[in-house]
C-alpha cells in the first residue's frame, strides 16, 4: 500500500523563518504599538510561567501530570488576542497558556498546580483543569476530545441567546480520532453553530507521531470537508499568521454562524507531560531545529524588533518582569495553605452548597 500523502509536522518546518508575510494583514496592521507589545508580553509570560513550572515540578511540589505549552505560545496568543465579549474558549489538558492569555493571574495558576486553596479551582482541579468562566474560559479538560461537544454547546448557547459570539474549541492532533470530536463536528455544521475547532497539531499524540496515529487526506483540517465545514491550515510559529487566518474564521462565526476547523502546526519542546522522558519517539535534532528556526516567541520578538516596536532593552525588561512574576507566583504557591478536609466535600452540588428554602433538594447527598 502506498504511503499516504502526509503533511506531517516537519512539513511546516519547511516554511522559511523570517519576517511574517502576514504583518501587513489588516488585522495585524491595525494593531497599535501598545497592542503589539502587550501581545509579546503575554507570550513571554506564558513561556516563563511554564519554564518556572518545570523547576517546581522537579522540586516535587506539583503532583500528577504537567503538560507544558512551551513552543505553542503563538497559538493561544494569536487566537485569543482576537476575541470579544461573547467569544468563549475551551481546551484540553495543555491549558496553562490559554488561561494566562484570557487574563488569569500567575498566582492562582501556580497555586492550583501545587494544590493550594488559593488556586483557581481551590486545589480541586490541578494542571489539567483550569477554569475562569468570568473570562469566558471554560477549561481545562482532562479527557482527550471530551471538550469538543461542550464547546459546541457553549456556541449553541451563544446562538440560542441571540448573541454575536463564538466558541473556540482547542484540541491536540491526537484528539481528531476521538468519536466525540467527530460528533461535535457534525452537530456544529448541521446546526450552523459559531464554533472554531482549533487543532493544535504539535506532531505527536503523546508518543505517537501523526503518521502512526491518523489516516487523513493530506492534513487533519481537511476532515472538515466530510462535514461540509470550512477549514484552513496555519503556521503556528507565526502569531501574525495565526491572527490573520483565525480572524477569517471568527468573522464566519460571527456573521454567518458557521463553524471552521483550523489546523495550526506547532511544536512542543518538552515531553507530552513531565512524566514523559521524551527519549523514544522523536529526534533531539528535530526539537533543536524548531527551537532555533521557528521559536514563536523569538520569531515575534524579531518581528517587533525589525518593526522598531520593540527595543532589545524593552524586550529584556519584559522578559525579566515575566520571570520575576513567575518567581513571585511560585512563592505565593509555596506560602498558600492547602484546602482542608472539610473542603473535600464542598463544591460537589450547587444545591448542597446553597441549601435554603429555594433549593429543591433534601435528604442525604454526601455519604459516609
Amino acid at each position: 500500500m502506498a504511503k499516504p500523502a502526509v503533511l506531517t509536522h516537519p512539513e511546516s518546518l519547511k516554511r522559511p523563518a523570517g519576517p511574517s508575510e502576514y504583518a501587513k494583514n489588516p488585522v495585524n496592521a491595525s494593531m497599535s504599538k501598545a497592542d503589539k507589545i502587550a501581545l509579546y508580553t503575554k507570550m513571554a509570560r506564558i513561556r516563563h510561567f511554564e519554564q518556572r513550572c518545570i523547576r517546581i515540578y522537579q522540586q516535587g511540589k506539583i503532583g500528577g501530570f504537567l503538560h507544558l505549552y512551551v513552543g505553542q505560545e503563538a497559538v493561544a496568543a494569536g487566537t485569543i488576542s482576537l476575541l470579544g465579549k461573547h467569544d468563549h474558549i475551551i481546551t484540553g489538558y495543555r491549558d496553562h497558556g490559554h488561561g494566562l492569555m484570557v487574563g488569569m493571574g500567575m498566582n492562582e495558576c501556580m497555586a492550583e498546580l501545587t494544590g493550594r486553596v488559593t488556586g483557581c479551582s481551590q486545589g480541586k482541579g490541578g494542571s489539567m483543569h483550569y477554569f475562569a468562566p468570568d473570562k469566558n474560559y471554560w477549561g481545562g479538560h482532562g479527557i482527550v476530545g471530551g471538550q469538543a461537544p461542550l464547546g459546541t454547546g457553549l456556541a449553541y448557547a451563544v446562538k440560542y441567546m441571540g448573541l454575536k459570539g463564538s466558541c473556540l474549541v482547542y484540541m491536540g492532533d491526537g484528539a481528531v480520532n476521538q468519536g466525540a470530536v467527530h460528533e461535535a463536528y457534525n452537530l456544529a455544521s448541521l446546526w450552523d453553530l459559531p464554533v472554531i475547532f482549533v487543532v493544535e497539531n504539535n506532531g505527536y499524540s503523546m508518543g505517537t507521531s501523526q503518521e502512526r496515529s491518523t489516516a487523513h487526506p493530506g492534513c487533519l483540517a481537511k476532515r472538515a470537508e466530510g462535514y461540509n465545514m470550512a477549514w484552513d491550515v496555519i503556521n503556528g510559529h507565526d502569531v501574525y499568521e495565526v491572527r490573520a487566518k483565525t480572524a477569517i474564521a471568527l468573522k464566519r462565526a460571527h456573521e454567518e454562524s458557521k463553524p471552521t476547523v483550523l489546523e495550526i502546526f506547532t511544536y512542543r519542546y518538552f515531553g507530552h507531560s513531565m512524566a514523559d522522558p521524551d527519549k523514544t519517539y522523536r529526534d533531539k535534532e528535530e526539537i533543536k531545529e524548531y527551537r532555533e528556526k521557528k521559536d514563536p516567541v523569538l520569531a515575534f520578538e524579531q518581528e517587533l524588533l525589525s518593526e522598531k516596536v520593540l527595543t532589545p532593552e524593552l524586550s529584556l525588561k519584559i522578559n525579566e518582569a515575566a520571570m520575576a512574576e513567575a518567581d513571585k507566583a511560585a512563592l505565593f504557591a509555596d506560602e498558600s495553605p492547602d484546602p482542608t478536609v472539610a473542603d473535600i466535600t464542598k463544591h460537589i452540588y450547587w444545591e448542597e452548597d446553597n441549601r435554603g428554602p429555594k433549593t429543591t433538594s433534601r435528604g442525604t447527598i454526601i455519604f459516609e
Partner: protein
C-alpha cells in the same frame, strides 16, 4: 385533581417548565417531528417550535455533551435519551463532564442539565436495551438520580429536576408510561431526596424504587390478604439524594426490612440501603435484611424467562415470608 398517565405527567411537567423559563429546551433523538420515540414529548414541537424542541442526530456523546456545555452558560436543557442504555456511549460526558465540572472548577461552574428517558428491563428487547444504570450513576458524587414510580411523582420530580441547579438524571420506565394516577392541577414539585411511604404497615418494611414499588405494593396486598401481614412500602423516589430518615423511621417501626429493586444485585442501590440500615438501625432489626433483585445475568431476551429474571410479585411475597419467618 386530574387522572392522567405517567407519560402525560412527564409531558405536563416539561410543558409547564418550558412556559415558565425560556432557557428550558428539550433535545434528543426523535423528540420533535416524530413526537418522541415513546410519545413523551408529543405535541411540544407544535406548541413551542423548533428552537425549544430540538431533534438531534443519533449521536449521544455529541448532543449530550452539547447540552452540558450549553447548561454551563445558563441554558437549561432537558435531554431525552431514547433509552438510558444508550447513555453508555456518552458516559464520558455524563460522568466526567457533567458530574465533575462544578467540583473541578472549585464551584465556579454549574451544570443545570436534566437527562431523562426510560431505564428498565421487562420489555423483551435483550440485554443492550434493558440497562438500569441508576446505581452506577448515583455512585458518582456530583450527579443526582431520581426514579419516579407514579404519575404524581413523575411530574413533581421532573419539575424539581428542571429547576435544580445540578445535573439530575431522571430514570423513567416504559412499562409505567401508561399507568394512570391522580395529579394536582396546580403547580407543585416533589423535592429531590424525599422518599414516600406508599403504603403504611407495621410488620415489614419494603424499600423499593421505580417499577419495583408497584410490584411491591401488589405483593403487600397479597401478604395482607393471604398471610395477614401488614407491610409498609417505602418508595425512595430519589436515589441520590437519598432520604435516609424515612427508611430508618420505617425500619424502627417494623423491625424487618426487605429491599426490592430491578437492578442486578451486585453493587445495586439496595446494597447501599442495606448498609445504611445495619449501620444506623442494627439494634432495631429482628431479622436479617433480605433483597430481591433481578437474577444476576445480562437481561435475557425470552419474555417468559425475563419475567422470572426480574422481581415479580411471587418472588417478593416469597422473600417477604422469609424475612418474617
Amino acid at each position: 385533581m386530574a387522572v392522567i398517565s405517567y407519560r402525560e405527567a412527564l409531558r405536563a411537567a416539561m410543558r409547564e417548565e418550558l412556559k415558565r423559563d425560556d432557557k428550558v429546551v428539550i433535545m434528543g433523538e426523535e423528540v420533535a417531528q416524530f413526537n418522541g420515540a415513546y410519545k413523551v414529548t408529543e405535541g411540544l414541537l407544535k406548541e413551542f417550535g423548533p428552537k425549544r424542541i430540538v431533534d438531534t442526530p443519533i449521536s449521544e456523546a455529541g448532543f449530550i455533551g452539547l447540552g452540558i456545555g450549553a447548561s454551563m452558560l445558563g441554558i437549561r436543557p432537558v435531554m431525552e435519551l431514547m433509552f438510558w442504555s444508550f447513555s453508555y456511549v456518552a458516559f464520558d460526558q455524563i460522568v466526567n463532564n457533567a458530574g465533575n465540572i462544578r467540583y473541578m472548577s472549585g464551584g465556579l461552574i454549574n451544570c443545570p442539565i436534566v437527562i431523562r428517558g426510560p431505564a428498565n428491563g421487562g420489555t423483551n428487547v435483550g440485554a443492550t436495551h434493558s440497562h438500569t444504570p441508576e446505581a452506577i450513576l448515583a455512585s458518582h458524587p456530583g450527579i443526582k438520580v431520581v426514579c419516579p414510580a407514579t404519575p404524581y411523582d413523575a411530574k413533581g420530580l421532573m419539575k424539581a429536576a428542571i429547576r435544580d441547579n445540578d445535573p439530575v438524571y431522571v430514570m423513567e420506565n416504559t412499562i409505567l408510561y401508561n399507568d394512570k394516577g391522580e395529579v394536582p392541577d396546580e403547580d407543585y414539585i416533589v423535592p429531590l431526596g424525599v422518599a414516600d411511604v406508599k403504603r403504611v404497615g407495621t410488620d415489614l418494611t419494603i424499600v423499593a424504587h421505580g417499577r419495583a414499588v408497584i410490584t411491591s405494593l401488589k405483593a403487600a396486598e397479597i401478604l395482607e390478604k393471604e398471610h395477614g401481614v401488614s407491610v409498609e412500602v417505602v418508595d425512595l423516589r430519589s436515589i441520590r439524594p437519598l432520604d435516609e430518615e424515612t427508611i430508618l423511621a420505617s425500619v424502627r417501626k417494623t423491625h424487618r426490612a426487605l429491599l426490592v429493586e430491578e437492578n442486578k444485585p451486585f453493587c445495586g442501590v439496595d446494597a447501599q440501603v442495606a448498609y445504611l440500615i445495619q449501620s444506623k438501625a442494627f439494634d432495631e432489626l429482628d431479622a436479617p435484611i433480605h433483597r430481591v433483585s433481578s437474577i444476576d445475568a445480562p437481561q435475557i431476551y425470552c419474555k417468559r424467562m425475563e419475567d422470572l429474571q426480574m422481581p415479580n410479585v411471587e418472588r417478593v411475597v416469597a422473600e417477604a415470608l422469609k424475612v418474617l419467618a
